[in-house]
């Protein structure tokens, strides 16, 4: 879909916690009727710098030290369930969806 926003979900290995976070993120966006407006990809933290230009926002489960020019949101809430709404609002605000 043209104009959809792209979210990159990143973790240390690109295998474990990003996988855990993706579904919760999808559920939360679906609940707000926003899921169709985004596309979600996964990567390793180390790949963020090279993938940032193709995405609109990063959701990371670890700290991001790379300097990138798109917003970075901490996504551990999707693992612990604590503060999910706040993080989702932050994501929606950044993406203006």
């Amino acid at each position: 879909m043209a104009g959809e926003k792209r979210i990159l979900v990143a973790c240390g290995t690109g295998v474990c916690t990003s996988t855990m976070a993706v579904n919760k993120l999808k559920d939360a966006l679906e609940k707000r009727g926003k899921l169709k407006q985004v596309r979600i990809n996964q990567c390793k933290i180390a790949e963020i710098a090279s993938m940032a230009s193709d995405n609109d926002l990063v959701v990371a489960t670890t700290q991001v030290s790379a300097k990138i020019n798109i917003p970075v949101v901490t996504g551990t809430a999707f693992l612990t369930g604590i503060g999910v709404d706040k993080v989702v609002e932050e994501i929606i605000d950044h993406l203006k969806i």
């Binding site: 973790c11 295998v15 916690t17 996988t19 999707f78």
Partner: protein
């Protein structure tokens, strides 16, 4: 698709109670059991320790905190999970802010073989972290069989 989580949960990989002086001591015990049963290579332990220093895995889930140490797939032979219910909590750095340390009571040491393997299992596991009553229940277990049975029913739901 029907996913059989019982293939991933193994009673012989439950360490309850896990007596450990610190995080690395706990890693050694859990990784050794994964290695003994043939799930990981002998490079796994060092790789987990190293990764934990860069990307800590302590999760602040409320009262009973958990950690999910793991590492890159090349150190793994077959997908598995070792679980340690600590006799006394050990300190982990917090995943979202490595400068902050938290007391962790339950360790889920993951051995994942392929990228994006077992997404349903991982999502179930994350769901478990959000169930405070269940974490309390799990932390109070004193035998491997009780822990195994509880995890089996929690992940099968």
């Amino acid at each position: 698709m029907i996913v059989d989580f019982t293939l991933l949960l193994k009673e012989e990989l439950m360490m309850v109670p896990l007596v450990a002086r610190n995080r690395e001591d706990a890693f050694e015990k859990l990784a050794l059991s994964l290695e003994q049963y043939g799930f990981v290579k002998d490079t796994y332990l060092e790789a987990v320790k190293k990764r934990e220093r860069t990307f800590p895995t302590g999760l602040c889930t409320g009262e009973i905190n958990v950690a999910i140490p793991h590492t890159d797939v090349e150190h793994v032979i077959q997908c598995a999970m070792a679980v340690g219910v600590l006799e006394k909590p050990v300190r982990f750095a917090n995943m979202e802010n490595p400068k902050v340390e938290i007391e962790v009571s339950i360790i889920f040491m993951l051995a994942l073989k392929n990228a994006h393997e077992q997404p349903a299992f991982l999502q179930k596991l994350a769901g478990l972290f959000q169930d405070k009553d269940l974490l309390h229940d799990l932390a109070s277990k004193t035998s491997t069989s009780a822990t195994y049975q509880l995890l089996l029913s929690a992940l099968a739901d």
